[in-house]
Symmetry: C2
Subunit: 211 residues, 2 copies
DNA sequence: GCGGTTCCGTGATATATGTCACACGGGCGA
DNA sequence: TCGCCCGTGTGACATATATCACGGAACCGC
């Protein structure tokens, strides 16, 4: 049986200095969430920053009309830049975070994020790399929405999805894809069918197998 | 005649502690750019971070096919978060920064950005607020592209534009708007005409007057 | 004033995407 | 086993946006 601190140690060794790992073990709150569980809902206040140990989390942006747009995925050793910055003004969150699969993470209180920056060089590096990655992700998202047609977007969507879950069989409904891409189910069904005809994937109920 | 350090002092007094202002005066490189001038082009390397003293800068994202998408504007006391993070891996920039009008700014070498974070609390605060603002901007951009129809997008575009230049008369061509919104000139012309009929604005050559 | 250039207005048409309506089939609980 | 719900496939149609093809108006240099 693996306990929390072993998991943390294994995940961070090599990235963080020992004193920092110890601090994380002491302060961080370990948590496991199941697939589909919400970590953040719009309107809630973010008081701590999650670091993903294993699994993956998807970050979405809902709009007033009930649509959503996928911003990016978080997986191993990623963290959510929005939650680092989201708090200073004490504004509530404007995003949604949902576990894509069973996910283990550790929460660090925001004050500590700040405090550690000057105490641990590797932490500062981590925080900045996190920002940079999330910026790159957001730019990629904008690229995709602004420049690509739906069929291309669907392809990049499927690619990212398989990357983030590290498998070729997606357990997902057309409806859900449509929601994440802010379009309608029928359109996705048609495009998927098209991709199946071309031999890019195989469809069945609740399942898409990439070839 | 105003000299550089007076400008800098006036801009930063109240936001930064005196020691930091002095440091900025000593290290930062003051520069003025004219309207239309490029600060960053895709492919160039970013070795220093600009802080805008007055004027405004627009940050765009070009794609391979020659289209562009507007990411956000920078104006008084803003800074570009991408340039803070853009350097760690020594990757070239993937964005474009263009002066919207005559703009005064001061460049801080990236190493100093990093160093000052632990030395000056107000600087750390500044850096984090910058990140947060840019994140919010990017999310607003995604909202607009993902959820709004072109006519609404055009409205929000015009609003932001007037905000950033602080005036109601925009010196701009339909072609340029189209490029920034990644669509075509005819479409923008039609939509603008529509807005004129509704009495929202008045059109003339190279000029849009918001009412 | 003249010729060229840039910007703008607008019809006609093409294409992509969104919406509606409905049928089919599989799973699953009563 | 029956009925029902959910996910899917698909035609027909509505709408939004892109593209093409012009013509005309404003401006600029000569």
């Amino acid at each position: 049986m693996i306990n929390d601190s072993q998991v943390v140690n294994a995940a961070f060794r090599g990235s963080f200095e020992p004193a920092l790992i110890e601090e994380i073990n002491r302060i961080g709150i370990y948590q496991e969430v199941e697939e589909g569980e919400y970590l953040i809902r719009p309107g809630s206040y973010i008081r701590s920053v999650p670091i993903i140990l294993s699994g993956s989390i998807k970050i979405m942006r809902p709009d007033a009309a009930g649509n959503e747009a996928l911003l990016y995925y978080l997986s191993g050793l990623d963290s959510c830049a929005i939650s680092m910055t989201g708090t200073p003004d004490n504004k509530p969150s404007e995003i949604t975070a949902i576990a894509e699969e069973k996910t283990r993470l550790i929460f660090i209180p925001v004050e500590k994020v700040d405090e550690w920056i000057c105490r641990f060089p590797t932490w500062k590096q981590f925080v900045f790399r996190t920002y940079q990655r999330r910026f790159d992700d957001m730019i990629a998202t904008i690229d995709s929405i602004a420049f690509q047609k739906l069929d291309e977007r669907l392809l990049t969507y499927l690619k990212k999805k398989t990357q983030s879950c590290q498998c070729t069989v997606l357990q997902i409904t057309h409806e859900e894809i449509a929601r994440e891409m802010a379009t309608s189910r029928e359109v996705i069904s048609r495009l998927l069918k098209q991709l199946e005809r071309v031999g890019y994937l195989r469809l069945s109920r609740n399942k898409i197998e990439i070839l």
